[in-house]
């Protein structure tokens, strides 16, 4: 891993992420007994959004969305270049903050609620992600992604609790049920469209592409738990994603209190016990 993989992420992640999103919609449709859209549908959607007018509520809103876009790419590129995991997590949080700020800035009640929920989501997933970094450090002795990925044994063997906590917060990052609070692809009528309510046209296309980058980055982080063998890693990443879709289609959205309480409890209990085990191991 080096800057080449980072650069490869910048150029190829949108294609992979878009395909993942299309695959997601197809599988979701099949689980609901429908035929579903073509696999390339997300690309059609973004292509269409680029051809639409861009309605501007406030100009500065775009700036925040663009920062979100750039920082999301930066996060993933840093991760795939084998950079420092803590810096990756920090820039992920920064990207999320800019996205939420964009929602606040639009000063519409719907996007305001969406932005508040986006912040709550960040607060919910942050402990599990941080614990994942801490656990990986305790096993491999480094925060560098390149060193962690080169560890000879699958990390999940030593970090089962942390992996469970990480899997638990995956629906938050993928904006899936039961934690699709800030904006959702399925529940279309609840708070209109949450944080993206006031985002339209080209800016919305930008947000979609940023989400594709995010998909690849988050799945990459899941891959890290199985990175000792590339095939095991790829297969398990696929399995994680499939499980995520099953969870998405078999659960209803929860209230934010439940999301925060459950994700913190899982992170602190499962992740905390795991860390305790690592400390007592030697």
């Amino acid at each position: 891993m080096s800057w080449i993989t980072g650069l490869a992420f910048v150029f190829f992640a949108p294609f992979v992420g878009g395909l993942i999103a299309g695959f997601d919609r197809k599988i979701t449709a099949r689980l609901q007994g429908r035929i579903g859209p073509p696999i390339l549908q997300p690309f059609y959607d973004v292509g269409k959004l680029l051809q639409k007018d861009n309605l501007v509520v406030r100009r500065s809103q775009h700036l925040y969305t663009e920062f979100f876009f750039v920082l999301t790419i930066f996060t993933g590129a840093l991760f795939f270049a084998g950079g420092d995991l803590l810096l990756v997590i920090f820039s992920l949080a920064m990207a999320g903050v800019f996205f939420a700020l964009g929602g606040y800035k639009a000063s519409s009640p719907y996007s305001f609620i969406g932005a508040q929920r986006e912040v709550l989501q960040m607060v919910s997933y942050e402990p599990a992600v941080l614990l994942a970094a801490v656990g990986m450090y305790m096993v491999t002795g480094s925060f560098k992604v390149s060193v962690i990925a080169a560890y000879p044994k699958p990390l999940v063997m030593l970090l089962p609790g942390i992996f469970f906590a990480f899997f638990f917060i995956l629906p938050v990052k993928f904006r899936k049920s039961p934690f699709d609070l800030s904006t959702s692809h399925h529940a279309h009528q609840e708070i209109v469209k949450g944080i993206t309510t006031e985002i339209s046209g080209k800016t919305l296309a930008l947000v979609e592409i940023a989400h594709w980058y995010e998909y690849v980055f988050v799945l990459g982080m899941g891959y890290l738990f199985f990175a000792s063998n590339i095939w095991l890693g790829l297969v398990m990443t696929f399995v994680i994603f499939e499980l995520l879709l099953v969870v998405d289609n078999s659960t209803a959205r929860v209230r934010w209190q439940a999301m925060m309480a459950s994700s913190w409890i899982v992170a602190l209990v499962a992740g905390g016990l795991n860390i305790l085990y690592l400390m007592l191991r030697h």
Binding site: R25, A29, Q32, G33, R34, I35, G36, P37, P38, Q41, Y44, D45, G47, K48, L50, Q51, K52, D53, N54, L55, H188, Q189, E190, V192, K193, T196, T197, E198, I199, S200, G201, L204
Partner: protein
């Protein structure tokens, strides 16, 4: 075919009606007809929508609402009047507060009569609307150049 015709996002608004057409609209999203095959998504947000699908007649109370939704949609956009009530006022035509069909307040592109409309007719209307969407896009580009 451009990208517009591959991903029409629909916003659905019901004026004053018996809800029969609305049930048919939702039926078109169900497994049997599954309009998502063609990329159609039922969105609740006018700012993401390409097609305004109106059912029911227009009255004094919902006139500003319909206009507001229409004005919030980014160009190019298309209006479908689905059901006989949205087309002409239908059975509610003679009511004291009813103005008539959707074309009393908005430029309607596709009329779909029927009581209630069949899901097949709605799908057909969306396909027709998508064609008009492409024409409007071409007109927009031509206007930009001029």
């Amino acid at each position: 075919m451009g990208m517009l015709s591959k991903s029409p996002w629909v916003i659905h608004y019901d004026g004053s009606s018996c809800n029969g057409c609305d049930i048919e609209v939702l039926a078109a999203l169900m497994p049997r007809f599954d309009v998502e095959r063609f990329g159609v998504v039922n969105t609740g947000n006018p700012k993401h929508a390409d097609i305004l699908l109106l059912t029911g007649s227009i009255n004094e109370q919902n006139k500003p609402v319909v206009l507001n939704i229409y004005e919030q949609m980014p160009n190019p956009k298309v209006v479908l009047a689905v059901g006989i009530c949205a087309t002409s006022g239908g059975i509610f035509r003679e009511c004291y507060n009813v103005l008539g069909g959707a074309d009393k307040v908005l430029p309607v592109d596709v009329y779909v009569p029927g009581c209630a409309v069949r899901p097949e007719a709605i799908i057909d209307a969306v396909v027709k609307g998508v064609g008009i969407l492409e024409q409007k896009r071409a007109a927009m580009l031509a206007a930009q150049k001029a």
